[in-house]
Assembly symmetry: C2
Homo-oligomer: 210 residues x 2
DNA sequence: CGCCGAAGTGGCACGTCGTGCCAGTATCGC
DNA sequence: GCGATACTGGCACGACGTGCCACTTCGGCG
């Protein structure tokens, strides 16, 4: 399960990717995404344009790592959940865990995400990245939910739960970003928890017994 | 409320737009979106490349009209709802109304949408358009929901309802598209209705009285 | 120690995208 | 009929994203 050996080169690559992502986020938030060229991002990050495109498929994708970190962490926690735990309980427990900052790194990560969301409010190109990230996140979550719910669960109900969970995280973060001042570090967790509870309250995972 | 005078030129423009959209949908479903150039779409639709880009901002956007038609109709019905009708009832009533085909044109429109969704399963570029369309739809739905719910409704609850409603429509259509054979014309309405009911069952629109 | 294959990087050229600009043509009001 | 307005087409251009090759770095092996 654990991936040993984050070998030297691999850490370098991860660092470079993060460097590019942050450079892109700064420039995008500053001027808007279309006003920034790939060449500028590459220069800011200290790499060649050609290398930039080896790390990211498109110019906009460069900020994706800063937006996916939360959802990725969530999926990892969920995949490690005990099988006997009730699915909806596991979802709520883990989302609170993910959104509650435990270190300065967590808090900084959250700030990057919210900063990008704020910038995307009036920038279609950034909104698209956010949509895309959430869409992919939901697709991956669907598989995990299907596993946790077991083979008896209705496929359509699994779809609904995965969609509801993804939406809960998304709306909570968007609401935080929309607030003028994001002061309370507990706000994301509280909002997401509420959203998840209210959106999944009526979902019937298993077909009614005859 | 009603827009009089669908003047000659306006109808021509609408027809041209639809023509381009269908040409693009055919080509995309056939070969995948990246394997099609804007020039080909324009030629198929009988317009110049430059004109194509006057109708659509990007190559992928060309199919958006075929994907937004349902959500647009839904918003129109909602905006015309009686103020005294319960919000969640109005949502469910109108979504069934939208998804129940009443004419051959309705059915054909539904088929175009589902066909595109099927094609987008293994085409990131098309998925992207679908995400984008739903994102914009949710933003517009939020305003309508806010109006219908009145000033006493909690803003965060309005967000949740708009998101839940958009997701209900999206997941229902995706589920239909995922089925091998889409035979039952009533399936989309039934699935969407169920999704909407289950996802909004737990939402508290108004703050608890003291 | 030198050789060598693997992997990451940079540079270059190329096809495509999307837009600004100007000219040609059709619709609407006087 | 006649300008005013709006849609269309052609051209050129900067930017995007990729295929290809050359260069460097790192690790294993005789």
């Amino acid at each position: 399960m654990e991936s040993r050996a984050p070998s030297l080169t691999e850490r370098r690559k991860a660092a470079t990717q993060l460097e590019i992502a942050k450079a892109a986020a700064r420039l995008f938030a500053d001027r808007g995404a279309d006003a920034v060229t790939a060449e500028e991002i590459a220069k800011q990050a200290g790499v060649a344009v050609r290398t930039f495109y080896r790390y990211f498929r498109t110019k906009e994708d460069a900020v994706a790592p800063l937006l996916t970190v939360g959802a990725g962490h969530w999926r990892a926690l969920l995949a490690a959940a005990e099988p006997q735990e009730e699915l909806l309980d596991a979802l709520e427990r883990t989302i609170v865990e993910v959104l509650t900052p435990r270190s300065d790194a967590d808090l900084e990560s959250l700030r990057w995400t919210l900063g990008l969301l704020r910038a995307s409010a009036d920038d279609p190109a950034l909104q698209f990245v956010w949509f895309r990230v959430n869409g992919e996140s939901e697709a991956q979550l669907r598989d995990i939910v299907a596993t946790l719910a077991g083979p008896d669960a209705e496929p359509y109900a699994v779809r609904l739960v995965a969609a509801a969970a993804t939406v809960a995280l998304r709306v909570a973060l968007e609401a935080c970003a929309a607030e003028e001042s994001f002061s309370d570090p507990g706000a994301p967790a509280a909002l997401a928890s509420r959203a998840l509870r209210e959106l999944t309250a009526g979902v019937e995972l298993y077909p009614a017994r005859a």
